[in-house]
């Protein structure tokens, strides 16, 4: 028989999604729009054809990774908002290290390897800094990681408009374009880039790490009770920094794929808000790395349908932000029902203090 907690952590978020859908329908009705049209457009734009499924998966790839970037530190008790900054600064680093290699005509696979490593390392250091400050200086990680995000965006805009600006980019300052030979194409004849594969592999790997290894056990124990973990002699500081660094590396890979597969050069489009949507993805998945995947695909599909909804229903692009905000608020309200559902409560045993 399934554990009560597993049942709860599936049914409660699903119920929250349903209620959010109802609340959003009321919002649409007040505006004089049809919720039925909205739902059918989400279906058309996100799931109905191979084209829309590819579109949804394409947009889900970065959300899987940024979802993981929030979920892993959350398991050790940190609320990190640094993913957006790590995407930007990781992507920028990837674009910059590629410039001399591309100019020297190195093989593409080698260039990608260097680019991805640079993005991961820079992202890991950037977000790891928030973890280090938390442990060694007692700086609240939520605020410091958000500040680091703003600092990253400002520094990267400065560098893109200054020293690393490609003279050819007149309207939108950008770094030097990679060129078609160095662009990552779609997987197996589809338009979905390899970021999806990276996301899936990392989701499984991080689930194994968090659920099946001593590292994951120590991290979850630290998240559950910091004092107890310290009392047991766990290296709490190193665990905190490691979880933040993993998060930063995940977000850095998003930046790498944005450069190598989507934009081909670093510019302001890097700050696309994946880091912030990833927070909601992680909360809906209850910080479980495997559950992040289906939730990210759902939001990828919503995102894919966004353009269609904008055109057909004449609604602004912020419609999806409103829907996401409603889902987030309802989901957090639903947290209060954990452990209080009518079924299976008798199974909850164990010392409370």
């Amino acid at each position: 028989m399934l554990n009560t907690r597993v049942i709860e952590s599936v049914t409660i978020p699903l119920a929250a999604l349903l209620v959010s859908g109802l609340v959003f329908s009321v919002f649409l009705l007040i505006l004089g729009k049809s919720p039925a049209t909205f739902a059918s457009l989400v279906w058309t734009g996100g799931f109905s054809s191979w084209f829309s499924i590819q579109n949804a998966l394409q947009r889900a790839a970065p959300l899987i990774l940024t979802g993981l970037a929030f979920a892993i530190p959350a398991r050790i008790g940190l609320t990190l908002l640094g993913a957006e900054g790590a995407v930007v600064i990781g992507g920028f680093s990837a674009a910059v290290v590629a410039i001399p290699l591309v100019t020297a005509g190195m093989p593409a696979a080698f260039v990608w390897l260097v680019m991805a490593s640079a993005a991961m390392v820079v992202g890991a250091v950037w977000v790891g800094l928030a973890g280090w400050l938390k442990h060694h200086r007692g700086v609240n990680e939520t605020i410091s990681s958000l500040l680091l995000t703003y600092i990253a965006i400002a520094i990267v805009s400065f560098l893109i408009e200054g020293p690393f600006r490609d003279p050819g980019s007149a309207n939108k300052p950008s770094t030097m374009p990679l060129g078609t030979d160095y662009r990552i194409g779609g997987m197996f004849d589809s338009s979905v880039h390899w970021g999806l594969a990276a996301g899936l592999v990392l989701a499984v790997a991080l689930w194994v790490l968090m659920a099946r290894t001593p590292f994951g056990f120590a991290a979850r124990m630290t998240g559950g009770n910091l004092r107890a973990a310290q009392g047991q002699g766990l290296p709490v500081g190193r665990l905190l920094v490691a979880c933040c660094a993993i998060a930063g590396a995940c977000a850095g890979i998003v930046g790498f794929f944005e450069i190598a597969a989507i934009h081909g050069q670093a510019n302001a489009s890097l700050a696309a808000g994946y880091g912030f949507t990833g927070i909601l993805v992680a909360f809906l998945a209850r910080h479980n790395p495997l559950a992040v995947v289906p939730v990210a695909i759902l939001f990828g599909a919503l995102d894919a349908a966004g353009g269609l909804i904008q055109r057909r229903m004449e609604m602004p692009d912020a419609t999806m932000l409103v829907l996401q905000g409603i889902i987030f608020v309802v989901l957090l309200i639903s947290d209060t029902f954990h452990g209080r559902l009518p079924f299976g409560t008798s199974q909850r045993t164990g010392a409370r203090t």
């Binding site: 007692g138 500040l147 805009s157 400065f158 608020v329 989901l331």
Partner: protein, 310 residues
């Protein structure tokens, strides 16, 4: 840069920074005072960024439609109250994390503001007037720097009032006890959830007014990039000001000066590194947080119930 007179251009930067500090600090001041009040009651509202943006949009829209900027300020405060009450109500439910709820409201407030704000990006609404205080000087830079918005003075008066209220009144005592020990407050017969709900609502109102300043005075128009984290930086600012409304004023001025650095340098033609100087307030915030996080006196003055301190 004018090569001939480095001193003159330094003075221009200096005046521009003073004027800029006063202008840029006003929204910081309102959000910080609101957050200070909320945190004094033992709860943290990270969602004030959402209040700020929604307040900016509402203020601009109402000012455009009614023709009165002050109606806009009032409406922005009203929207802030609604968000604050919602935040306060959700946080009183068991097992709900107030930091996460703040994140959610940041997203919801931003989403609603962008959704309803689309039609107001182009049209021009009546702004709040300024009080010219630079009449004593013949220097046009001084006169320009001392064009001060009445909301700044209201903010200063509010800070003094909050400081006095928290220290000397029954309500102030109730808020402080609730923030320091919910158990003691309950023993005194205080309804802890109600006090926190009211404090969050009042804090939300102030943040909404701060947003109205952004769209109706400086920079003085509504667009989607209007606020870039001021609401969150104010949270750090309150920690730096150690939950004292008077110190919030000084901290807000300091942050305002850091924020005015980039535009001031641009006013004498230094455009190099504009984005880099834009990072100055964030870097300053981070440095201040690193310097003050482990300080013992800050630990003493912190409300004990705050989840961010624990």
């Amino acid at each position: 840069m004018t090569q001939a007179e480095p001193l003159a251009s330094m003075m221009i930067v200096f005046y521009a920074m003073i004027g800029g500090a006063i202008r840029v600090s006003t929204p910081f001041l309102f959000v910080a005072l609101g957050e200070c009040l909320t945190e004094k009651s033992g709860r943290i509202n990270l969602g004030l960024e959402g209040n700020l943006i929604l307040g900016a949009m509402t203020g601009y829209a109402v000012s455009y439609n009614t023709g009165s900027a002050w109606m806009g300020v009032l409406a922005a405060g009203g929207v802030g109250v609604v968000l604050g009450v919602a935040h306060g109500w959700i946080c009183k439910l068991p097992k709900v994390n107030d930091i996460a709820v703040g994140l959610a409201f940041m997203g919801l407030g931003t989403g609603l503001a962008f959704f309803f704000g689309k039609p107001y990006i182009q049209p021009s609404a009546p702004r709040l007037g300024s009080v010219p205080l630079g009449g004593w000087s013949n220097n046009p830079q001084v006169q320009q720097a001392l064009q001060i918005n009445p909301l700044f003075f209201i903010g200063i008066m509010l800070a003094v009032f909050l400081w006095w209220m928290l220290r000397n009144t029954r309500w102030g005592l109730v808020i402080r006890v609730t923030g320091d020990s919910a158990a003691s407050a309950r023993a005194m017969g205080v309804n802890v959830d109600m006090v926190r709900l009211l404090a969050t609502a009042a804090g939300g109102c102030l943040a909404g007014i701060g947003g109205a300043f952004l769209s109706l005075s400086y920079p003085g128009s509504w667009n989607e990039g209007l606020s870039s984290g001021q609401g969150l930086m104010a949270v750090a600012l309150v920690i730096f000001a150690r939950w004292n409304p008077l110190r919030c004023v000084l901290a807000a001025l300091l942050f305002g000066a850091a924020g005015a650095l980039g535009p001031s340098l641009q006013s004498i033609g230094v455009s190099f590194g504009y984005h880099f100087f834009n990072a100055a307030p964030y870097i300053l915030t981070l440095v201040i947080m690193i310097a003050s996080a482990r300080s013992r006196s800050a630990a003493i003055e912190a409300p004990r119930e705050l989840s961010i301190i624990k």
